[in-house]
């Protein structure tokens, strides 16, 4: 491993109206390393990446490559400098084969002047894929690949375009543990080939296990830049949050949760609920209880809660709230019965991006703001209620009439939460409420969820981070292949127990 500086950024500043997104960020990226980049939502990571990609220009400061200052005005220049990017939203051509996706955008070998030498292109992509992930057949349509494999294809595409610096933005979002391991090994292979990886993630575990060095950003500045071996989880968290306490939310809550909570009557009773993908499932939820639903991606967790809420059509089954059978076959009916669902994909299912904070927060409780019996809501009252929510949930925005599109992920999630709190319900279902949001916002969301339970609401909590479920839930039911395969309660709620149930006792993944 060499200590040669490959890319360095010096005192970068980027201002947006009303926001100082990057405030003098300085760091260097050595060659042949995997460098982690972490920080809260809004810390300035994505602005820095956009500057490397040429999507935005710095107001001040400079970027140097191999010691020479460069100006990056667009994606072509970024590519010419050897930068390759993999964003969360994959930019691919779904109708084409893997090989075509890999070779598109690369400098194509020519034949007879203008024609593309396709045979050579295919050959190159085949070699590259064989090296990165032999399980991917270059002839298959890209649609047939898993998300993880598609990401590997994106990496291959960047490498074929001679990328020396590969920027991966949250590459492991919504991947299973196995897929994550595999993606990590692909990253290591990229490094062996002499490539450098800038790895952006909210998951500190993978930053610690994968990277050679780590950069932490906070409020637009670099607050920590060190070899990974010299840091640990606690140091990273305190650098990310800026607070002295490195104790994780999980650890704190664990300490608090002794003997569980007092629990009330059964508030939600699900019996024999089934659909195409969910086998008949029955369970009860008590008032004041925080029930986790565990399982691997694809085990049917999201499908189950969507059935309860009437978001998808069911084949059979009944739902009772507080002992009374209720019709929850459509979302309006479920709402009337006192059940709300915070959906998994907040951008596409949770909110209207072009609506303002106010319009999103009051969307499900609009009739409350109507005077007399007329169907005309009072905007003044809506604003008042939204301001209260903004304060209560500490939503950071420039005002209640701002469109939610420009809020950070964590603040957007809080807006969706605010919508349901404004509406009120007896049963709150949260599907991946903390996905893709920063440590501090996560903590705030845990507190909210706990607050609801302590008010006597029933709460169902789904998370792919089992440590989070362990920290938050009194009881966890586990699904596998659409079936309820087990349940753990009280002190038995542990990551190990949940994982064992997820995989079944055969082939336990404790290793």
């Amino acid at each position: 491993m060499s200590d040669q500086q490959f890319v360095s950024v010096d005192s970068l500043v980027k201002r947006y109206p009303g926001v100082l997104a990057v405030d003098g960020a300085t760091f260097t990226i050595p060659t042949d390393q995997i460098v982690g980049l972490v920080g809260k939502n809004g810390a300035g990571k994505s602005t820095v990446i956009k500057m490397l990609a040429g999507a935005v220009q710095p107001d001040q400061g400079e970027i140097r490559v191999d010691g020479r200052p460069v100006a990056i005005h667009g994606p072509r220049q970024a590519e010419a400098l050897g930068f390759g990017f993999m964003h969360q939203e994959l930019e691919q051509f779904p109708m084409m084969s893997v090989a075509e996706n890999v070779t598109l955008g690369a400098r194509m070998p020519r034949r007879a002047g203008a024609l593309v030498n396709w045979r050579e292109m295919y050959e190159r992509s085949r070699e590259l894929l064989a090296e990165l992930d032999p399980s991917i057949d270059p002839r298959r349509p890209i649609d047939h690949l898993s998300i993880a494999q598609k990401r590997v294809v994106m990496i291959a595409r960047a490498l074929l375009a001679r990328a020396r610096l590969l920027v991966l933005d949250e590459p492991t979002t919504s991947l299973t543990d196995e897929e994550i391991k595999h993606l990590h090994s692909v990253c290591r292979r990229v490094k062996e080939r002499g490539g450098t990886v800038l790895y952006v993630s909210h998951r500190l575990e993978e930053i610690l296990s994968l990277t050679d060095s780590v950069i932490v950003m906070r409020d637009g500045r670099v607050v920590l830049s060190a070899p990974t071996a010299q840091t640990d989880r606690i140091k990273l968290i305190s650098a990310i949050t800026g607070s002295g306490s490195g104790q994780t939310a999980a650890e704190r809550r664990r300490a608090r949760r002794v003997g569980g909570r007092p629990q009330g009557d059964v508030i939600l009773s699900v019996s024999d609920l089934a659909s195409e993908v969910v086998a008949p499932i029955s369970f009860d939820l008590r008032a004041g209880e925080l029930l986790g639903v565990g399982g691997l991606v694809g085990a049917g967790r999201t499908e189950l809660v969507r059935l309860i809420y009437g978001a998808d059509s069911r084949r059979s089954g009944q739902v009772a709230v507080a002992g009374r059978l209720v019709d929850t076959s459509t979302p309006p009916k479920a709402l009337a019965a006192g059940i709300v669902l915070l959906p998994e994909d907040r951008r596409h299912e949770g909110m209207v991006l072009d609506f303002t904070l106010r319009e999103n927060v009051t969307l499900s409780s609009l009739r409350k703001f109507c005077r007399r019996r007329l169907p005309f809501p009072s905007r003044g009252q809506e604003r008042g209620a939204t301001r209260q929510m903004v304060e209560r949930l500490r939503i950071r925005s420039s005002g209640v009439e701002q469109p939610v599109r420009h809020l950070s992920g964590g603040n957007q999630q809080k807006v969706v939460l605010a919508k349901w709190l404004e509406r009120g319900a007896n049963v709150f279902i949260f599907d991946e409420p903390t996905a893709g949001i920063d440590v501090e916002a996560k903590e705030e969301i845990y507190q909210l969820v706990e607050g609801l339970a302590s008010e006597g609401k029933g709460v169902i909590f789904i998370s792919s981070e089992f440590s989070e479920m362990v920290a938050v839930c009194n009881r966890v039911i586990v699904l596998r292949e659409g079936r309820l395969v087990g349940e753990v309660e009280g002190d038995a709620v542990s990551e190990r127990n949940i994982v064992e149930l997820c995989y079944g006792h055969v082939g336990s993944v404790a290793a």
């Binding site: 809004g42 939203e89 299912e349 209207v352 991006l353 499900s364 009739r367 109507c370």
Partner: protein, 341 residues
């Protein structure tokens, strides 16, 4: 934070200024914003100034303004209806067919069956509602594409119209009271103008002030999020098509009342201008958002162009050319302002 890099799903139909721009800085973008917001209004004023300069004794007169206000009313009413469905992301291409069918039903009932004109109008409006309900069931409940279904239904309405009228113009047997609806005046202005204002007020209250309108905009912005928020998506979309149907029949009544006759295909000339008015309007006042006041401005603009060009005694070919160019230029102007940096 990585969310900022994500692209969003775009939904048809998109207003021309619909692309939301990243935060921008500087004086240039300020000028762009102003262009986006006022581009169409500036073009409208410019057009009026040009016509007034070219025809100083004809164009800028009270009589001419009255004529424009009268003539643009049916167009605006159709535009108001279309605004409602476009807000929800649906198209209704059956509108021209419904103008013809609705007016044929009303006129034939009076002329051939001697039905009282008020009753005939009520029946006509019910036909419009029923047609909209059929579109709504097929599109919102059965999940068909609004584009194709309404195209097909427009053809069906045409067929029914011909069945009723045998493709003949109906002149006789239309009561005087019916003709008075469009030709009568109040305070010196055409009744048509006041009927248009009435429809405008109702649809404005619906879209901009009521809970229903909020839900309609929500489902237009993100249908799945609206559904999961408890918005009755299917019912609202159906209501939208019913509103278009009723607006189409009202326009059909005004057209036939004005002409004192019903001719085949009377809706066709309104089809493109009505959509143009709505899209132009989405670049006015609240750029990037279909809105009914914008539609009003859009329809007025189109009528100003058409009246002004006619008064310049230009040939039809020139009128079509100029209309098209002005429309494209106005939309581009607003689009320019919204192009992200």
């Amino acid at each position: 934070m990585s969310d900022a890099l994500a692209t969003t799903k775009t939904e048809n139909p998109q207003p021309p200024g619909g692309a939301s721009a990243a935060p921008r800085t500087g004086r240039i973008s300020g000028a762009r914003d102003a262009l986006a917001k006022y581009g169409v209004l500036v073009a409208l004023v410019g057009t009026i100034v040009v016509f007034s300069a070219l025809k100083p004794h004809v164009f800028p007169t009270a009589a001419n303004l009255k004529a424009i206000l009268e003539q643009f009313s049916p167009l605006a009413i159709i535009g108001f209806g279309l605004t409602v469905v476009l807000v929800m992301g649906d198209f209704d291409l059956s509108v021209a067919g419904m103008i013809g069918l609705g007016s044929a039903v009303v006129v034939a009932l009076m002329s051939k069956h001697g039905v009282n004109y008020l009753l005939a109008i009520v029946i006509g409006l019910l036909v419009g509602m029923a047609g909209g309900a059929v579109s709504g069931v097929l599109i919102a409940f059965a999940g068909a594409s609004s584009f194709i279904i309404t195209l097909a239904l427009g053809q069906v309405y045409n067929g029914f119209e011909y069945l009723i009228t045998k493709q003949q113009t109906i002149f006789s047997g239309i009561p005087n009271a019916y003709a008075k609806i469009a030709t009568g005046t109040l305070l010196g202005l055409s009744n048509q103008f006041f009927i248009m204002l009435g429809v405008l007020v109702i649809i404005f209250l619906l879209l901009e002030q009521s809970t229903v309108g909020r839900f309609m905009y929500a489902l237009g912005g993100n249908r799945e999020a609206a559904r999961l928020s408890g918005v009755r998506v299917r019912e609202l979309r159906m209501v939208g098509f019913m509103i278009v149907g009723v607006c189409a029949v009202i326009a059909g009544i005004l057209i036939t009342s004005q002409n004192d006759s019903q001719s085949p295909n009377s809706g066709t000339p309104f089809f493109l201008p009505a959509f143009a008015a709505v899209f132009l309007g989405s670049a006015v006042l609240r750029p990037g958002r279909f809105n009914v006041l914008g539609t009003l401005v859009g329809a007025f603009f189109l009528e100003v162009i058409s009246v002004g060009l006619t008064e310049l005694s230009l040939s039809t070919s020139v009128i079509l050319l100029v209309q098209g160019v002005i429309l494209a230029a106005a939309v581009l102007l607003s689009r320019l302002g919204r192009a992200s940096a």
